[in-house]
Symmetry: C2
Subunit: 303 residues, 2 copies
Amino acid sequence: MIEREFIELLKQMPLHAGARGLCDDAAVIPIGDKYLIFTKDMMVQGVHYFNDSDPQDVAWKLLAVNLSDLAAKGASPIGVMLGFTLGEDDWDKSFLLGFEAALKHYRVKLLGGDTVSSQQHIISLTAIGMSVHDVPSRSGAQDGDILYVSGPLGDAYAGYELIKSGRYEIEDPLVMAFNRPKAQVELGQNIAQSVNAMMDISDGLLIDAQRMADASGLAISLILDSLPLSQNYRQKYGDNLDSIINAATWGDDYQLLCAAPKDIKLPMNMRAIGIFTQGKGLGLNYNDKRIMLPFSLGYEHSE
Amino acid sequence: MIEREFIELLKQMPLHAGARGLCDDAAVIPIGDKYLIFTKDMMVQGVHYFNDSDPQDVAWKLLAVNLSDLAAKGASPIGVMLGFTLGEDDWDKSFLLGFEAALKHYRVKLLGGDTVSSQQHIISLTAIGMSVHDVPSRSGAQDGDILYVSGPLGDAYAGYELIKSGRYEIEDPLVMAFNRPKAQVELGQNIAQSVNAMMDISDGLLIDAQRMADASGLAISLILDSLPLSQNYRQKYGDNLDSIINAATWGDDYQLLCAAPKDIKLPMNMRAIGIFTQGKGLGLNYNDKRIMLPFSLGYEHSE
């Protein structure tokens, strides 16, 4: 079964109000005057990372992608629960080295977890965060809101290509961008009170912008000329329409996407890239012309 | 790596105070005047269930084993996060049927989760519960405390043997006892304030009683004659020493174990089976004699 079908069936389960209809990146439960935020992301060997990926990087990325979901809700991370398939001693030890470094980097604590044995490595993390403010959803964009992205796109793609080529330095910033993405935890906390909707880009800007518009019952019109490409990406792949589309359909940069009213002041690095309007669907504009949608808007989880 | 080694390494990670040193079944975080309780249990195809197990039963058991950990903390379940490896349509649909039935049975709500694709089925659940009272740990047993077990042992073993034999009815109560264990949620809530320590039996009474004693810095002396065997188990396997040991090294009954002072009144079904004393280790008594420990005290998670 593909993910979309499965999620449609999951929506028929008894859902907690905090599940937000399974249309958001995280669940939100009010406890007293606080909100607890829960998110879960798994990684599978050969799917989410290469068979020969450095286990330290796998651990780092697993934590970062979960914290990225918390960042999109403006939450402060509290702790994580680890689900781990036991394997070779070296791999497991190396994973824990990277996990420890990432926990320390993000100042997050381990709460517990479970280990199992299996043939294939599958690692699961549940991250728990807290907020004292209302928690932005994916569905709160308003007619006339501006769509912002939190920073340049393309480094993770360039890193991925370098790694695939086999000729690269571990320390190369592009390789690091792919292997050890940065979760925008502080930024998310800073802007959560100013935005009407927020999510992280994990499957590609185009598909995720469309998801935010769909969830909000609006159309989104993107100005592709405004998309910020990273300097390295521009140097390698140019800044023509194809290279913009390529960067905008690639998810591993883990930038934040948010919808905010025109007159709200956001931090300098937030780039305005589109506008929400009445209607439905995604519109792409380039050189002042409406253009066709590409075949794929981003990564769609399949069977 | 085997689980024990991995957990020793995990203990060197930055641990949340609520992780209780990774020596408990669940993590406990105080939020205002309440406690939130987190637990995570995974199930792997071919390890925790048969390749041809009914996916409805797999779903039920996954929820029950997680809720059993919450029960051992006296918590009321709030919701669960599901991690699911997508597979065949029929299997996935059947899993969700069972999952829905189990959620409704236990009045638990789905909060969210993640799906991935992989060759092997691995399913992960994080369960979240709440308590307004102090949460019993595994390590609070006191010198002189009595060890209690919440109910008869052996049905799950008898069910497992029936299933292995291939000649059984799905509706057979023993088969159900193995396939759809009962989490003692209400009982756990009722007694949590009366006990000094509590845990669920998931790997076998002997090994889990020893773990409670170790965590509490005490010795535990068990009276094997007092162990309650289920009527069905007794009829099939007798109530001699071998059959008692067999039932006491089998974990799938998911009864609760607790330590409480001698003068505390517990519900009728709680059976006194041992006493905590100064010292270290597990002692077994049968027919008023100290007997040797069996080779295996229960299920130990290996590579």
